[in-house]
Symmetry: C2
Subunit: 331 residues, 2 copies
C-alpha cells in the first residue's frame, strides 16, 4: 500500500524549518542523556558517532547526524514475508526500519570537504547532531572550505544553515550539480508542487540562501575538488550525484541515497521508497551502481547505510550483498 | 610450517614486563600522532576505540587496547591458497593478518565489570591503550569493582597491573576460573616451562601479585556477577572461560579467544594458532561454541574479532560465518 507524502506530513507546523513525520521519533528517546559526563550515566548513552578511514593519502571522517525509522508502507514493491526474512537474517528487529543519516568529511591535502550536512532540526531530536559530532572529531565548521551536495532533500542540505538562517559553514563554497540546482531553485517547482511536497522545496531554497554568491554549479564526470570527482546517479532526484574519492590507487564512492534501506536494497534493488522522485530511474541507477561497485571492488559510503556506512558491494547470486568495512586501527 | 614459540621470542629482553614479537609492530606506526588535537592533525589519527551496546538493561562498552599482526606461519593447518581467497573475500590486504585486542566493560546496575585488560606494554606501541580508551569512555579505573579474566595470557591479563607493579584497578576483585588459576600460578608450570614460554608464565604471575587477598576463584556454569555467568571454553588454555551476559531475554557471550583470526576461523574452525595450549581441544571448543551461538542466535563478543568485536555467528553450508553487529544509535 502506498501512502502519500501528504499523509506523512499530516500535522506539520507551518514553519518550513520544522517537519514532523509521525512515528519517526521513538517515544523513549531523550536528547538530554547525551550530555551526561560521569561514568555511570555515560554508560547509558552511545559514544560520539565519528569514525575514520583512509583512501590512499586522503582521510575520510564519517560523521553521524542521527537516525530515523522508515515506516514499512514507505517502501514500494516490498514483499512482507521476504522483508521479515531479511530482517531476521540481519539480526534486526522485526518491527522497525532504522536508517542512519551520515555525512562525510574528506581531508584531502590542506582541504576540508564536507559531503552533505544532515537534517539540523527538520526531523526531530533523534537527528541534528552533525555539528556536535564534528566537534567531537575536532573539525571546526569554519575550517570546512567546500560542501559537496549529493542532492537537495532536507536530510542532506538542511544542516548547511542554522536555525537563525546563517551559514553553518561560514567559509565554505557550496557545490551542487547543475540539474539538481535548477530543479530545486526554480520558481515553478515550488508553485507546481503538491502541498505535501512544498515544505521540501521551501527548505531547500531557504538552506542555500546564505550561500548566495559562493555557489558553484558542476556537471558530472569532472573533478570538483582535489582527488574528488562527481558521478551522475539520477533518479532519486533529478541531479542526484555521487562523489568519487581517489588517491594512491584506492577509491571510495560516496553514493548519497543510492540505498535507503540496506537490509532490503542489496537483496531487492527494485524496491523503492516514496521519497524517490523517479522510482524507476532510482532503481535502475541502484542496480547499475551495484554492478560497477562489485565489478571494480570499489569501496562505497552511503548516507543511510548503518553508521559509519562504509563497505563493499558483492554479488550474491542474482542479487547483491554488502560487506561492511571494519575498524581501521591506523590510518 | 610450524614455528616454535622460541623463534617468536628470539631477542626478547630479559625483563618480564616487555615482550617483542618480531614483525608484530608495523614500522610506520607512531604513538605520538594520537595526542594531536587540532582538526588537520587529528584527521590523520583514528578516533578513540570505544563503542556501546545494549544487552537488555545491561550496557556493554567495547574498549580497544590496540592491534597486532599475526604472522602467517603462526597459523597451523592453514591452506595458503584458501587463506588468500578468504582475505580477498573479506576485502583485506593479502600480506597481513591484523587482529584486535579488545576488552569489554559490563555496566550492570551499579556494578562496573571489566572483562580482560589488554596488554599494557607487553607487545609494543600498537597496543596498550586500554586505560586511554577507558578514559575516553568516561570510565574511571577506580570505578571498576570486578575484573573477569577469560584466561591468563599476557594480552588479556597484563593490563591489570601498571609498569610499577601496582594494581591498575585499585578497587577491583579479580575473578579467575580455578583450573586457569591453578595452572598459571603453579610453581612447576614455571619450572617445567620451555624457555620460550617462561615469559608468559612470569607475566601472568607478576600481573596477579598486587591482587593478593582479593582474588575470587570460580567454577564454570555459575553466576559470577549480577547477570553474568561463567562458561567453560577450554583448549586455548586449561581454564579458558567465556562470560555470558543476560538481561531481559537478551544475551551476549564474551567468548575470549574462541576466535583469533575471524577472516579464517569461521570458514575453518579446525585451523589453530601456535598460542593454543591444546590445539585439538581449542578447535573442538570453537566448533561447539559456533554451533551453540548459531542455533541460539546468541550475540557474541571476542577479544580478537575486528573492533568492536560484536556480532552473530551463522551457519554457512558446512562452515560458519559472522554478521558484525551494527552501530546502536540509542541504548
Amino acid at each position: 500500500m502506498r501512502v502519500s507524502r501528504r499523509s506523512l506530513l499530516a500535522g506539520v507546523a507551518s514553519a518550513p524549518a520544522t517537519l514532523a513525520f509521525p512515528g519517526l521519533v521513538p517515544a523513549a528517546w531523550s536528547s538530554e542523556a547525551d550530555t551526561a559526563e560521569d561514568g555511570a550515566a555515560a554508560a547509558t548513552t552511545q559514544v560520539p558517532g565519528i569514525q575514520r578511514f583512509s583512501v590512499g593519502d586522503i582521510k575520510v571522517t564519517a560523521v553521524l547526524d542521527g537516525f530515523f525509522d522508515f515506516q514499512f508502507d514507505w517502501v514500494i514493491g516490498m514483499d512482507e514475508v521476504e522483508a521479515q526474512r531479511l530482517l531476521a537474517d540481519a539480526f534486526l528487529p522485526a518491527d522497525r526500519l532504522r536508517a542512519a543519516v551520515n555525512a562525510y568529511v574528506i581531508h584531502s591535502g590542506d582541504r576540508t570537504i564536507l559531503v552533505d550536512s544532515g537534517t539540523r532540526d527538520a526531523f526531530g531530536p533523534t537527528l541534528g547532531r552533525l555539528l556536535q559530532n564534528l566537534a567531537a572529531a575536532g573539525v571546526d565548521p569554519a575550517s570546512i572550505d567546500t560542501v559537496l551536495v549529493t542532492h537537495m532533500h532536507p536530510d542532506h542540505i538542511n544542516g548547511i544553515v542554522t536555525a537563525e538562517g546563517v551559514a553553518a559553514f561560514p567559509n565554505a563554497e557550496l557545490v551542487v550539480q547543475e540539474a539538481e540546482w535548477a530543479y530545486w531553485t526554480a520558481e515553478e517547482t515550488l508553485s507546481n508542487a503538491p502541498d505535501d511536497f512544498k515544505l521540501f522545496v521551501q527548505l531547500a531554497q531557504a538552506a542555500v540562501k546564505p550561500y548566495e554568491g559562493r555557489v558553484r554549479l558542476i556537471a558530472t564526470d569532472m573533478e570538483v575538488a582535489p582527488g574528488v570527482s562527481a558521478m551522475a546517479l539520477p533518479g532519486h532526484t533529478p541531479g542526484h550525484t555521487g562523489y568519487l574519492v581517489e588517491s594512491g590507487g584506492d577509491a571510495l564512492l560516496v553514493w548519497g541515497d543510492t540505498v535507503h534501506l540496506p537490509m532490503f536494497h542489496f537483496a531487492h534493488p527494485d524496491w523503492t521508497v516514496i521519497f524517490d522522485g523517479d522510482p524507476r530511474a532510482a532503481a535502475a541507477t541502484r542496480s547499475r551502481t551495484f554492478d560497477m561497485a562489485a565489478a571494480e571492488r570499489l569501496k562505497v559510503a552511503g548516507m543511510h547505510l548503518q553508521f559509519p556506512g562504509l563497505g563493499h558491494v558483492i554479488r550474491d547470486g542474482a542479487a547483491y550483498g554488502f560487506v561492511p568495512a571494519g575498524w581501521e586501527y591506523e590510518l
